[in-house]
Amino acid sequence: MILLFPEPFEICVLVLAVLILVALYRLVAGPTSPDRVVALDAINTLVVGIMFALGVIFRENIFVDVAILYAVLSFIGTIYYAWYIGGRYT
């Protein structure tokens, strides 16, 4: 069912998933708070990329709405963390 489309998008999805694990290591073992926040932002961007690639693989154009929504809303969470850290350390 999934394997309708040729290989390149699946390879793209797998590489992005492995990169999520790499960013999760920095989120778990990061020494300071800005490390963890930047790792969370990287995870957000990678999740949006995976959603676009999976929308191509599933051949559903309405799934792109979810990815656009994530790309918009992940900005708000990051800006709140930045507000807290900047207000504390400056």
Binding site: V66, Y80, G87
Partner: protein, 159 residues
């Protein structure tokens, strides 16, 4: 504490697009993924973004809480009345009394997978709009009240 220009201008540019996308999710709730609750949550996220970007101004004039409370009550009343209208018209509670009648939202649909038209669905789009208004107002009121009570002067005590 005043926010930097990058944050404020980016929030000003992104706020109308977030509200338009939330309205799209609410109005197309019976055709595409989404619905009242999801679209209302997206629009409330836009209000939360506006709250943090302009926190140096007066919050009460920027986002008036009393209007939001009235909007929430109106949404809940619209939801209940659209269900009670079915009882008045002679059928059960929560009966879909607008579908397949040719009136507003009353165009019949054909069976099978199709993109669909906006003018179908009966009473479902009305309930979507009601729940969307209610969720938008409720989540915005919670965020604004928690912000105003925990940070009276917008968090400038460290400087």
């Amino acid at each position: 504490m005043k926010q930097s220009n990058i944050v404020r201008i980016t929030a000003d540019i992104m706020f109308p697009f977030i509200m338009i996308f939330g309205a799209y999710v609410v109005l197309h709730g019976h055709l595409t993924p989404g619905g009242g609750f999801q679209g209302g949550a997206v629009m409330a996220s836009g209000v939360v973004l506006l709250l943090i970007a302009h926190c140096d101004k007066d919050i009460k004039t920027l986002i008036p809480t009393q209007i939001l409370k009235n909007v929430e009550t109106f949404g809940l009343l619209l939801f209940g009345l659209s269900a009670l209208a079915a009882v008045i018209l002679g059928s059960g509670f929560f009966t879909n009394w607008l579908v397949n009648t040719g009136l507003l939202f009353g165009t019949p649909v054909e069976y099978g997978p199709n993109p669909g038209y906006l003018n179908t669905g009966g009473v479902i789009p009305v309930m979507n709009i009601a729940v969307g208004l209610e969720v938008l107002a409720a989540l915005s009121v919670i965020a604004v009240i928690m912000f105003r009570s925990t940070e009276p002067d917008c968090g400038g005590e460290e400087q």
